[in-house]
Symmetry: C2
Subunit: 331 residues, 2 copies
C-alpha cells in the first residue's frame, strides 16, 4: 500500500443540505414522495423552500458524506465534485476540507448556483429529499486528477451522478483509470428511482466486471434485480460481484464476498431523529473495515455503528468521534 496516497477517492455530487422537520401531511400536500430523492428544477426548489419551516444548512452529498465518515475513522480520502463560486459552494468546500479530506475541484463561475437538497424530515426520522443539482451537474472530465485516482486504493462512485451527462462521462473515465491501475471500484446504487432511470447502465457495468464492491439497500436491490424478495435478489446478484453489501434499514445488513456471507443487526439507537446519511455512513464504516482487511462481520458492524451515529442527529455528516465509537464497540 506504500504507493497509495488515499484509501478512498470519491466522485459525487457536491451538495449542501437544507433540512427542516415536517409533518407527514405536509409531504403529501406538497406532492412529494416520502423517503425518495426527487430531482427538482429551480422553480420547484423555490416553491418547496417557501413551504419549508425554519431550516439549517449542513453539507451533504452522498459520497461526500461517506468520505466524512471514512475521514473520521482515520482513513485518507479525496473528493471530486463540482460547486459554484458562491456562498454555499464555500460552505461545502470548507466543510469537506475541515473534515480532513483533500478537495481540489475548482469552483465553477457564474450560474447555476451550488447544488442544494431540500430535506423534509418526518417525525419518525424518515427523510424526503428534493435535489436541485445546479453546478454539480457540470462536473467536467477535466476535473479528474488521474494521478490521484491511481493513488487511491478504492474509487467510490455514487449512482446519483448518473443523472447528468458530464459527470456520467467523468465517472466512466475515472472507473477506466482506476481499473487500469488495478484499483478497486466501489459503487452505491443511491436510490431506487435512479435505478429506474439508469438501471441498464448499472447492470451492464456489473456484468462487465467493472464494480468490485456494490452497496444497495432493499429498495435499490429490488429495482436492480426485479425481485422484491431481499434474499432472492441478493442471491441473484452476489455471484456477479466480488463484494455485495446490502442494507435493510432497522433490520440490519448483509454482505456476500468471495463466496462468504455475513449478516449483522442494526446497532441500537436511543432516538432516530433524521435518517439522512444512514446508507452513506454505513458504506463509510464498511469500507474502512474493508481497506483495513478486517473480516466481513467486523466490516458490517463498523457500518452499523456509523449509521447508528448519524441517524441520532440532524445532518448526514458524523458528529461523534466514530473511531472512538468503533474502538469502544469492537476493541
Amino acid at each position: 500500500m506504500s504507493d497509495l496516497r488515499y484509501d478512498v477517492l470519491a466522485i459525487g455530487n457536491a451538495i449542501v443540505d437544507v433540512m427542516a422537520p415536517c409533518e407527514d401531511a405536509q409531504i403529501a400536500a406538497l406532492g412529494m414522495q416520502r423517503g425518495a430523492m426527487t430531482l427538482v428544477d429551480a422553480a420547484r426548489a423555490r416553491e418547496l423552500y417557501a413551504a419549508m419551516g425554519p431550516a439549517r444548512e449542513i453539507s451533504g452529498g452522498s459520497s461526500a458524506n461517506t468520505l466524512a465518515g471514512l475521514a473520521a475513522l482515520g482513513n485518507a480520502c479525496a473528493f471530486v465534485g463540482q460547486v459554484a463560486d458562491d456562498q454555499l459552494g464555500e460552505v461545502f468546500a470548507h466543510d469537506i476540507r475541515a473534515a480532513g479530506i483533500d478537495y481540489a475541484t475548482a469552483p465553477r463561475p457564474g450560474e447555476p448556483p451550488t447544488a442544494r437538497c431540500l430535506i423534509f424530515v418526518s417525525p419518525d426520522g424518515q427523510r424526503t429529499m428534493n435535489t436541485f443539482l445546479g453546478a454539480t451537474s457540470f462536473l467536467p472530465e477535466a476535473a479528474l486528477d488521474e494521478g490521484a485516482i491511481r493513488a487511491a486504493g478504492v474509487l467510490y462512485c455514487e449512482g446519483y451522478l448518473w443523472d447528468s451527462e458530464e459527470p456520467r462521462a467523468a465517472i466512466r473515465r475515472a472507473i477506466r483509470i482506476a481499473r487500469e491501475a488495478g484499483r478497486k471500484v466501489a459503487f452505491t446504487l443511491s436510490d431506487a428511482f435512479v435505478i429506474d432511470r439508469h438501471g441498464d447502465d448499472f447492470r451492464a457495468m456489473i456484468e462487465a466486471g467493472d464494480i468490485d464492491i456494490l452497496f444497495a439497500n432493499a429498495g435499490e436491490l429490488a429495482a436492480l434485480t426485479g425481485t422484491a424478495d431481499f434474499a432472492a435478489g441478493s442471491a441473484q446478484l452476489a455471484p456477479k460481484l466480488p463484494v455485495l453489501v446490502t442494507t435493510h434499514g432497522a433490520e440490519g445488513a448483509s454482505a456476500h464476498a468471495h463466496g462468504q456471507h455475513a449478516s449483522v443487526p442494526a446497532e441500537p439507537v436511543d432516538h432516530v431523529l433524521d435518517t439522512t446519511g444512514a446508507g452513506d455512513l454505513f458504506a463509510a464504516g464498511f469500507l474502512s473495515g474493508h481497506v483495513a482487511g478486517r473480516d466481513l462481520t467486523t466490516c458490517l458492524t463498523m457500518g452499523a455503528i456509523c449509521a447508528a451515529e448519524v441517524i441520532g442527529h440532524y445532518g448526514a455528516r458524523p458528529e461523534a468521534d466514530l473511531a472512538e465509537l468503533v474502538k469502544a464497540r469492537l476493541g
Copy 2:
C-alpha cells in the same frame, strides 16, 4: 390592545450563525476570548473559518432569535434587520419568515455580504462568537416602517446594534417613534464588551427613561454598573427602570418590577450542548409572559423554560414546541 398588529417588533442584526464544536485549547490558540462576542473583519473571519471544523449554518442574530422564541409561543412579531442580496441573506429571510415573523427589510445589493457569526462551541456548551457584521452594519433609517413600530406593543432593541453608525441612528429613531406612540421599549445589553464600548449611551438612555424593560446578564450588569456584586448592581439599577430582568446562567434569573422582586432557578437540562441563544430565548419567554400580563414569577419561569430548550441543541432558534413546553410546565 385591539389597534396593535404586533406584540413585539424587534430591530437587530441579521446574522447567519456558522457553528462548530471545538476544544478550549483551540479557543486559546486562535487568540479568542472564550464566551465573548468579538467583532471581526473579513480577513480575520476567513482566518477563523479556515481553522474551524466542519460546521452547520443556522440563522441567528440576538433579537431575531428572541422573536423566533416569541413566535413559537404564539406571539405576533415583526423583525427589522439588514441582509445582503446573497445566499446567506436568503437563508436568513427564509428562516425568519418560516418562523411566522413579518420581515420586510429589502436585501442590500452588492458588497459586503450578509453578516455571519463564527461560533466555536466548547465541550461544556460555552459559545465563543466572532461576528463579521457585513451588510447588517448598513441598516438605514429608511428601513423603519413607522406604522409597524406604532402598531407593536413592545419595541425590542439589541445593544449589539450600537456597533455600527447607521443602525444606531435607526434604533434611536425607532425608540422615539415607539415612545411617542406610547409603546414600551425593551432593550438587551447584549454583551459586556458592547457595554465597554457604548455604556455611556446605554446609561444615558436609562437615565432619560427611554427604556421600560432592560435585560442584562451578570457580566453585563457588572459592566454597566461598575460593581461585580450581582445583588448590589441590581439594587442600584432597579429604581431607574420599570422592569429589570437579570439572568445568572445556571444560577437562575431575577426580575425587579414596579417595586416587586422575584427570582427563579434555572430549569433542569439533561445535557447542555450549546449555550448560544440562552439569553435571547430567556428574553422571549419573559416578554411573552409580560405582554400577556402574567405575574413576575411566571414570566421568569417562561424565560427559564425557553432558555433550557435552546441550550439542549445546536443553534439559537427553538426546535421544540415552546408553547407546549410552557403549557406542560405551567398549565
